[in-house]
């Protein structure tokens, strides 16, 4: 069991997401950086999709009410009783120890995994918090001071090894987009602008979507659409002319014109970018998107194999 001692808004319990219910109007929720979540879980010998704490605003402080192995991946830094741990590391906490997760000043999302996985009631086969639907996680809400969370029975011994993961090399540069849908209806000059402009991530961004501020995009002729299904990564263009990239908590259907889809691997990079920072977009092919995904899967598979060797 762990107790939340200090908590900023936005901290939730998330696993890999709730899939298979979109047609019923239930979104996926789930970790915005699934790779960081999976890495943290694999370090502990958990199921890669096990539920963990997603931290968007730091600091978070927790007290361990029992001995527990934990890992901290993604952005930020873990400090156990005043002792800083390296990034993407596995640690062992004793009962009564205080773990502080703090920002390294560059924004981003952190994942605190616990050996066994955070034990919350699963709803529709997932532990993820659906903030809009108010279910999953801890009563469908953000964590707050005084919350006590249990962990599932451990599958690994508390002291198994002192090691971490080499953070996945995300690559640099523009985020990759598969253009499509109503993109071709944009005037050509604006089509070019989508991929030549600096887009600033609005501070109004959240788990539902990231708002991109830059040149205003307008269709010559208004585009009227019937409602369609929405998935994370979809880039919508509302009448404001400022594109929105849908994220984990995206609604299940929408009606705004669409410019294309940000590929999953770069949707993680977008989610890890601090509001206020700038990004660029570039066109990519389906093959390139599949390659990026395969490379992530390879990284996780190698990590999992190597961990088995070290902690059989």
């Amino acid at each position: 069991m762990i107790e939340i001692i200090k908590c900023m808004p936005g901290c939730t319990v998330q696993d890999a997401g709730r899939f298979g219910y979109r047609r019923l109007g239930v979104g996926s929720a789930g970790a915005m950086d699934g790779l960081a979540l999976a890495t943290g879980n694999i370090l502990l010998g958990n199921d890669a999709h096990a539920a963990a704490l997603e931290i968007i605003f730091f600091p978070l402080e927790i007290r361990f009410q029992e001995d527990c192995a934990f890992s901290f991946t993604g952005a930020g830094q873990a400090v156990l009783d005043g002792q800083a741990l390296p990034g993407w590391w596995k640690g062992t906490a004793r009962r009564g120890q205080l773990l502080r997760l703090e920002s390294l000043g560059s924004g981003g999302i952190g994942y605190l995994c616990l050996a066994g996985g955070v034990a919350v009631e699963t709803v529709l086969k997932s532990a993820s918090t659906d903030l809009k639907g108010v279910f999953g996680g801890v009563q469908g809400r953000m964590l707050k001071l005084g919350d006590v969370l249990a962990v599932h029975p451990r599958t690994v011994t508390v002291d198994a090894g002192d090691f971490g993961a080499v953070p996945y090399e995300n690559g640099q540069g523009a985020l990759r987009v598969l253009p499509g849908f109503e993109f071709a209806a944009l005037p050509e000059a604006m089509q070019a602008q989508v991929f030549s402009s600096d887009w600033q991530i609005s501070r109004q961004s959240n788990r539902i979507g990231f708002l991109l501020e830059g040149p205003r995009m307008k269709f010559d002729v208004p585009v009227e659409l019937l409602s369609y299904g929405v998935l994370p990564g979809l880039i919508q263009l509302p009448p404001s002319g400022q594109p929105v990239v849908m994220l984990a908590d995206a609604q299940t259907c929408g009606g705004y014109p669409r410019l294309g889809t940000l590929i999953d691997s770069d949707l993680r990079r977008l989610a890890q970018s601090a509001p206020g920072s700038s990004i660029q977009l570039r066109i990519c092919t389906l093959e390139e998107a599949a390659e990026a995904e395969a490379s992530e899967r390879q990284y996780l598979a190698r990590l999992s194999r190597m961990r088995e060797v070290v902690c059989p």
Partner: protein, 147 residues
């Protein structure tokens, strides 16, 4: 394990800084011993400073590699090194990392002291017990110990 493999292991062992290795699988077991003092000191292929150039005698303190891996002077997500010459380190401090595929292992100092020099190049593949850092005793630490 066949004869040529055993011969190859013996060769590697003779070139290494190790005094003993033991290997076991379900079919065989192999134990090799050697007395490092009784043979010429070999230059480790990965060390930039030959081992012979290290200060000898009890005053020299070393941090040795706890295992095989690629030597990283700092964490891959940071641009700074864990320590550099002149840094005061305490027993248990992480002074470097060893990368094995996607895993990262810490090199922790087992003594208190001041880092004199880094003995291997970044990214070099180091063996078990390869000297990584030389240290000198810190006077202030000694005073602390006396008081």
């Amino acid at each position: 394990m066949n004869f040529s493999e055993i011969r190859e292991i013996c060769r590697c062992f003779a070139r290494s800084q190790l005094s003993e290795i033991e290997y076991r699988d379900s079919y065989s077991s192999l134990r090799l011993l050697q007395n490092p003092a009784a043979r010429p000191v070999a230059t480790s292929p990965v060390s930039v400073t030959p081992v012979m150039a290290l200060p000898t005698g009890s005053a020299a303190m070393l941090i040795k590699s706890p295992q095989v891996g690629h030597f990283l002077i700092g964490h891959p997500s940071k641009t700074t090194a864990c320590v550099e010459a002149g840094c005061l380190v305490r027993k248990g401090d992480i002074v470097a990392f060893l990368q094995v595929g996607p895993l990262l292992f810490p090199v922790r100092s087992d003594v208190d002291g001041i880092i004199d020099s880094v003995l291997v190049e970044p990214q070099a593949l180091v063996e078990y017990a390869t000297p990584l850092f030389s240290l000198s005793e810190s006077e202030s630490l000694n005073e602390n110990h006396r008081s």
